[in-house]
Symmetry: C2
Subunit: 151 residues, 2 copies
């Protein structure tokens, strides 16, 4: 885990922070600075290299992966009006698949690998990666709006 | 589990039998009559009522659910030429969601409940249920062929 850094203003990041804090029963994260709340998502290349790819990934990591893609789903909904529901299937050993679907449309189809090392070089890198996935989803919805609207 | 019954000729059922036997390392299922191989999928209403909906369902049940939907995927491929890949997410307590996707299209979207009691009244009931799901998937592909072909 890296030291908390100053973090950019971004609607995706706002959603992610909101989702993380929504899981906080104790109220401790309410007062915690944003940079500290997202600190577990920031893992530098050097730190990543030191994490062994052995056994099942930590449940906390899978929880972060789910939150990350849920925040992506919220951003897709904000941009398109279509609710994008996540479904994740993790196999043992830290690989798997994450889908976001809207109606009959697969708007995000991500293959996940090396989940033990899930994390981003910086808050900005995390935002940029999410923006790329969100843009891809919006483009798919614009291409197949009827499938996204079908039940 | 019901007594083995005589089972109908059906392409879906053939696929299912093939998939079950493909998981058999011992070769014991090779010689076993078809009716016996699918016997664990046949659970009568009376038997179902006796199974408590407590705790996580048996992994063998989840394996059968996956095989059932994989055989449905094969039938969809035979009918349409589109490969339909399953992704299942089971939450605790025996409920969840099963998707089959072809390209960008969700061709099957099943909500699963009471998985502890997964099973069918008879081989014919199992085939009829599968046929309904397959017909639905084929109709969706005919409606959105470009989404099914998109990567």
């Amino acid at each position: 885990m890296a030291e908390p850094q100053s973090i950019p203003e971004d609607p995706f990041l706002k959603s992610l922070l909101m989702l993380i804090r929504a899981h906080d029963g104790s109220g401790a994260w309410e007062a915690m600075p944003d940079a500290e709340v997202i600190a577990p998502f920031i893992v530098t290349k050097e730190q990543r290299r030191e994490i062994p790819l052995i056994g099942d990934p930590d449940p906390d990591i899978l929880w972060r992966v789910e939150l990350y893609y849920s925040a992506i789903g919220l951003a897709i909904e904000q941009r398109t009006g279509f609710n994008a529901a996540p479904i994740m299937k993790i196999h043992h050993e830290g690989w798997g698949r994450m889908l976001l679907t809207a109606g009959r449309l697969v708007v995000v189809n991500s293959y996940l690998r090396d989940l033990h090392r899930f994390g981003f070089d910086s808050p900005q890198a995390m935002i940029d990666k999410a923006a790329k996935i969100i843009d891809g989803a919006v483009a798919v919805i614009e291409r197949f709006p009827e499938a996204a609207a079908a039940s």
